[in-house]
Amino acid sequence: MKKLVAVLLVGLMLLLLFINMFDGSLEFNKMDLADVDGNYYAKNPIVSNMVTSVVVDYRSFDTLGEVTVLFVSSLGVAFMLGGLTTRIKFKHDDSFFLRIGVKVLFPIIVIVGVFMFVHGHLTPGGGFPGGALIGGAMLFKYISDSKYRAKISAFKVLEGTMGSIYVLLGIVGILVGNYFLQNILDIGELGNLISGGLIPIIYVLIGLKVGSELTGIFDHFMNEEV
């Protein structure tokens, strides 16, 4: 019965949506790029990747909040699953091929991750996917051999230092440039590696922080209560 009610509700919402869509009172991108805020970001980008210049420089406060969200969720997972200590033992034992395969793949994935957040301001991708790739590489290590435990305390220290350096950069922005999180270094010539002032540095910080946080989350998810 409940399913029927839910289907009716969703169907009604869809009907309303189509009526409004087709009589023109609810079109979505009514404003083309010219008169939208995004146009300013497109017109004067700080680095060649406009999205990165928005994420890390124009709206850098959002990204600081974003990094805090991941930080709180890794704290929360540690708080919820803190009691578990022993690693989950899979039904199958460690396969030889997987272990060798991971030994080969691990450095490659880490390098791709590092490449992604170092070139965040030139090519698509940035701190978040780069960090997630590093977390993924650590995940391979966990899967490949069941007795592997990453040095969580080292990752915690890395996470703490990266986060506080990011905030300190913001405060330095106040001292030197009179605005919080101001891009104090010079922008440099668009398009080459060392350009965009603080942007590559911040993306490296975010990448390492996201990588270590996700490793912490994976470590807690791999444990179980015996």
């Binding site: 409004n20 009172s25 609810l26 079109e27 979505f28 991108n29 009514k30 404003m31 008169d35 939208v36 805020d37 300013y40 970001y41 420089d57 124009y58 709206r59 850098s60 406060f61 959002d62 600081l64 909040g65 974003e66 805090t68 969200v69 930080f71 709180v72 969720s73 704290l75 929360g76 708080f79 919820m80 803190g82 915690k156 220290v157 996470e159 703490g160 230092t161 986060g163 506080s164 905030v167 300190l168 913001g170 405060i171 922005g173 106040i174 440039g177 009179n178 605005y179 919080f180 999180l181 101001q182 891009n183």
Partner: protein
């Protein structure tokens, strides 16, 4: 040099550092909380740009009277709550720091998407704080409704961006002229739905009963008074300063607020459990505050929120302490174990006459609840008088009728609760020995004294409310759509 942005950033910085020094997280929490409580008094008002980008393109923090007073109340109460519950905070010290940063960010931000990010930070921190009381089903319900609420809020913000092309609140306020067509009122309803979760309005307050129903002396005041106060102020900022509501939209949203007000009062009247009375009364107060914000009584709503936050802080703190009291008899340790597994003593009848044993808490509790019931000589009385006065001035008679009826119901269940807690047994005689409950609870003197002080401040504000009313007037002046300007100040009405 002291910038308001430090209020948000310092707790985050100390939280990031606290991960590295595992053992000293509690002292770090203390430092962060005290720094914030001091810094909040020295920051000055104004619009602060982040990252040296001009107004609509960069993120801006506007700290005017409206948000400054809210910041002061938030930081002082947060510091007080952490100090009073220091022994109870073990594993969630870092999460509390992040919650402090998130809440400060919520009050200051001038950008709609930035508000979403801080909403998300404070919500996740609230999930973890609530998860300390081990009843995980309620935490899970709270999470699901909280996440759906923030998704609705983001959907509303994106619809506004597709209509008006900006995320900046000031520019949005200028661009938004009417909410007539569906393209303009659907985002408003979505954002109202998104904020309705944390402000406990009817369609989305299913989680309140579970979370506040079994809250202890840290979770209760945190979610019941601090979080709900901040969310109401954010709601007021958005719906009076930024959005322009048409009449139909205003009536629709006011109906939801009125229904919440009535449902809250009636269900508070119908229950005999201590914390349920408090949580339903806080649902009703949120409905009242939202009703006032929607209809343009901005500064009066600020008064209502301030009085509600103060009163609920005391009530939820004491309720949290009282409900896990246990018999002072010989086998206390078994009783204690039993106490943990069985639902602790929430029913008023089991706690009957508990104030006879500790009168100081009784005084604090009664002052706070009587101020809530808006009896004369307390701060709540002046808030209610001003609510009715400014409504009559505008010739509006429907709303005052509803508000008077609900405050009658509110007075009834509060007086009934106090009579049972103070003087059980038959009418008129002094409470006999066996009628008084055998339960008792330990509460250290500091908490007792501080709560007494806050309740005395409620009485002081009741006697000479001009301090609070001037502040509320200045705060209301910052809101664009604010009609309530005259106030009843002295006992004898306007001089």
């Amino acid at each position: 040099m002291i910038r308001p942005v430090l209020l948000v950033v310092l707790p985050l910085l100390i939280a990031f550092l606290s991960v590295m020094f595992k053992k000293q997280t509690k002292p770090l929490l203390l430092i962060a909380v005290l720094i914030n409580a001091v810094v909040v008094f020295v920051i000055d008002k104004g619009e602060y740009i982040i990252g040296n980008h001009m107004q609509p393109y960069g993120i801006v923090l506007n700290v005017d009277n409206y948000s400054l007073y809210a910041l002061i109340v938030l930081n002082v109460l947060f510091a007080l709550l952490v100090l009073l519950n220091l022994a109870k905070i073990t594993k969630i010290a870092s999460i509390l720091m992040i919650a402090l940063g998130g809440l400060n960010g919520l009050l200051m931000t001038g950008d709609l998407f930035n508000l979403f990010v801080f909403l998300e930070i404070s919500a996740i921190a609230a999930f973890m704080i609530v998860a300390t009381n081990k009843k995980l089903i309620h935490v899970f319900n709270y999470m699901i409704i909280g996440i759906v609420g923030s998704v609705m809020y983001l959907f509303g913000v994106i619809l506004l961006y597709s209509q008006y092309g900006t995320l900046n609140m000031n520019k949005m306020a200028e661009l938004m002229t009417t909410t007539g067509t569906p393209a303009t009122y659907i985002p408003i309803i979505m954002i109202f739905g998104g904020l309705a979760v944390e402000t406990k309005l009817l369609p989305f307050n299913g989680w309140v009963k579970g979370v506040l129903g079994n809250s202890d002396s840290l979770v209760g005041p945190m979610i019941g008074s601090i979080y709900s106060g901040v969310m109401l102020i954010v709601f007021g900022r958005l719906f009076t300063d930024v959005f322009v509501l048409n009449d139909q939209v205003r009536i629709l949203l006011s109906v939801i607020a009125i229904v919440t007000l009535i449902a809250g009062e009636v269900s508070a009247f119908s229950t005999m459990k201590l914390r349920e009375i408090l949580l339903y009364s806080s649902v009703a107060q949120s409905g009242l505050a939202v009703l006032l914000f929607l209809n343009g009584y901005g500064s009066i709503a600020v008064l209502v929120v301030f009085a509600n936050v103060l009163a609920k802080f005391i009530l939820f703190m004491l309720a949290g302490v009282m409900t896990n009291s246990h018999k002072k008899s010989e086998h206390t340790e078994y009783e204690h174990i039993l106490n943990n597994t069985v639902d602790n003593h929430d029913d008023i009848s089991t706690l009957a006459g508990i104030f006879v044993k500790n009168p100081l808490n009784g005084v604090a509790f009664s002052v706070a609840s009587l101020s809530l019931a808006s009896l004369p000589l307390f701060f709540g009385f002046f808030v209610k008088i001003n609510v009715l006065y400014s409504m009559f001035l505008r010739g509006d008679y429907v709303l005052p009728a509803i508000i008077l009826a609900t405050s009658l119901v509110e007075g009834a269940y509060i007086i009934r609760m106090l009579v049972v807690l103070w003087n059980p047994g038959k009418e008129g005689e002094k409470a006999t020995k066996e009628a008084v409950t055998s339960l008792n609870y330990e509460i250290d003197q500091l908490v007792c004294m501080v709560l007494l002080l806050i309740s005395l401040s409620l009485v002081a504000l009741g006697i000479s409310p001009d301090l609070a009313i001037d502040r509320a007037d200045e705060a209301g002046a910052d809101l664009e759509y604010n009609i309530s300007t005259e106030y009843v100040e002295l006992e004898g009405g306007k001089e």
